[in-house]
């Protein structure tokens, strides 16, 4: 399934969701050559923003990615408030909603490590390259070593 990043950004911005792009999508924004298949965002966990997030995505039939079909999953405010991080699939593709990211923290913690990038007609908040590397290191997965190597090379090439 294709993830339509443009439609995701349009949907989230239209509903005034407060979010920061992290993960592979942020790496793409910075110039990474790696293919990413999902959109990772850190969302602000205020009651209002959770409401806006739910309103934004509900129309696109969010479901637990990789879970067997037919489970009584409801993407509503109560579910989001009681949870934290969600790995979902919608009609727009794969999306990970993180209330907290390892090596970064919650939305309020990473707000000082952002880069504003303009694309698809919007000013969007992306995690900085340096902080992106920190989150990848914190995840501690060997598969991220290649990613970290590329991100560090991107910093070197950008200077």
């Amino acid at each position: 399934m294709i993830t339509d990043f443009k439609l995701y950004f349009e949907t989230l911005v239209h509903h005034e969701v407060e979010f920061v792009i992290i993960g592979g999508a942020a790496a793409t924004a910075h110039g990474s050559a790696r293919v990413t298949y999902d959109l990772d965002i850190v969302y602000r966990r205020t009651a209002d923003n959770i409401k806006r997030l739910v309103e934004a995505l509900s129309a696109h039939q969010p479901y637990l990615r990789g879970a067997p079909p037919g489970l009584p999953f409801r993407f509503d405010e109560e579910t989001v408030k009681r949870g934290l991080n969600f790995t979902l699939v919608t009609k727009l593709g794969a999306i990970d909603l993180l209330g907290e990211v390892a090596g970064g923290g919650i939305y309020e913690d990473i707000i000082g490590s952002l880069v504003i990038k303009e694309f698809f007609g919007y000013q969007l908040q992306c995690l900085s390259l340096e902080k992106l590397i920190a989150t990848k290191r914190a995840a501690g997965r060997p598969k991220d070593f290649e990613v970290i190597a590329e991100l560090e090379s991107l910093i070197e090439e950008s200077h």
């Binding site: 294709i2 990043f5 924004a29 990474s32 303009e118 698809f120 970290i148 190597a149 090379s153």
Partner: protein, 75 residues
């Protein structure tokens, strides 16, 4: 215990810069050798929109390749 050993501070070794690095840093340096910097430089010339369009095109390509493989394996 001699008086000398009570009064002297053991001499600290000169810090080695390498001690500030972990083995993970060394592993990442090895991975960096395989990073295609030509590709990164080309990507840095693109707008952010173009980078995302490129990623989505790659997704389509990969999906088509998987579909073709399934069809081939089904024969």
């Amino acid at each position: 215990m001699s008086e000398q050993s009570n009064n002297q501070t053991p001499e600290m070794p000169t810090p080695d810069v390498k001690q500030n690095r972990s083995s993970i840093d060394d592993i990442i340096e090895l991975y960096k050798r395989d990073v295609d910097r030509t590709l990164l430089r080309e990507n840095l010339k693109l707008t952010v929109e173009q980078r995302f369009e490129q990623v989505m095109n790659m997704q389509i390509f990969v999906e088509e390749a998987h579909r073709a493989r399934k069809l081939r394996n089904a024969k």
